[in-house]
């Protein structure tokens, strides 16, 4: 039997084949990475590490880009057969981001799964923190960034708290019990509770 993962130079390497969901995410990130940093958070973190459940959206934190960069990104996403739920007009889409409203992208002729594109600024302290403390992960040559595992677990347990979130957190606690660090739990719990009293 082969273990599900190893930690190599602080990169989490998951021993499995890519799913169509991973390929959807990979294709989106291939375009995004040319223009911006990013962080995958929430349900996909649990799913890409083995939680067996369905999902409709992939939550993606992206720093608020300048307008020109965003418009170029938007047009390239369209060329790569993604469409935006809200509008075909990149300048209009940018107005949503300025208002801190998430926008969504799916593959052409599909609704789900979709990328929930979440603009992050310094004012969103927790998301800004996550974005700047990524955990690197690799699955069959697909290299990407997710939130720190301890942060993800605590956020799901303390802030979100639905049955689905508790189950996702349980999966991460069990799956990564060998590598989770108590000092990180302490640090992140203080941070999260300071924002969510």
């Amino acid at each position: 039997m082969t273990k599900a993962y190893i930690l190599d130079n602080n990169i989490l390497i998951i021993n499995r084949d890519l799913t169509q969901l991973d390929i959807f995410v990979r294709d989106f990130l291939k375009v995004l990475k040319k223009y911006s940093t990013y962080l995958l958070v929430s349900g996909y973190v649990s799913i890409c590490t083995g939680r067996t459940r369905a999902t409709e959206d992939i939550d993606l934190l992206v720093p608020l880009l300048d307008k020109t960069t965003f418009v170029t990104l938007f047009r390239e996403l369209e060329k790569n057969l993604f469409w935006c739920y809200q509008t075909n007009n990149p300048e209009e889409a940018y107005k949503y981001l300025l208002k801190k409203i998430n926008i969504r992208f799916a593959r052409i002729n599909e609704i789900f799964p979709n990328i929930e594109f979440i603009p992050v600024t310094k004012e969103k302290r927790l998301q800004f923190f996550e974005l700047n403390h990524p955990q690197e992960i690799q699955i069959k040559g697909f290299h990407f960034k997710i939130s720190p595992l301890e942060f993800e677990i605590l956020y799901k347990e303390i802030v979100l708290g639905s049955e689905k979130d508790k189950a996702d957190a349980k999966h991460l606690r069990v799956m990564f019990s060998d590598i989770l660090k108590s000092e990180k739990f302490k640090e992140y719990e203080q941070l999260i509770r300071s924002e969510h009293q």
Binding site: A4, R16, K166, H171
Partner: protein, 65 residues
């Protein structure tokens, strides 16, 4: 045999998959089956010709945009 709660099942399954990566095959099948069903359902419902327009109308009705 004790019936597992959903959270106990998650714990049980995560312990198994952690030690045996062949279980990822089941996960892949479930995820891809869901994606395929969703894709066929919405393509049939909304049609290929005006998919975006129809999809936006549907998403507005559902309160998703």
């Amino acid at each position: 045999m004790k019936n597992l709660t959903s959270l106990e099942f998650v714990e049980f399954y995560s312990e198994k998959i952690k030690e045996d990566n062949t279980l990822f095959k089941q996960q892949k099948m479930l995820i891809e089956s869901q994606m395929k069903s969703s894709s066929s359902f919405f393509l049939n419902k909304l049609g290929k010709k005006n998919f975006k327009e129809n999809a936006r109308k549907y998403l507005r009705e559902m309160g998703l945009i």
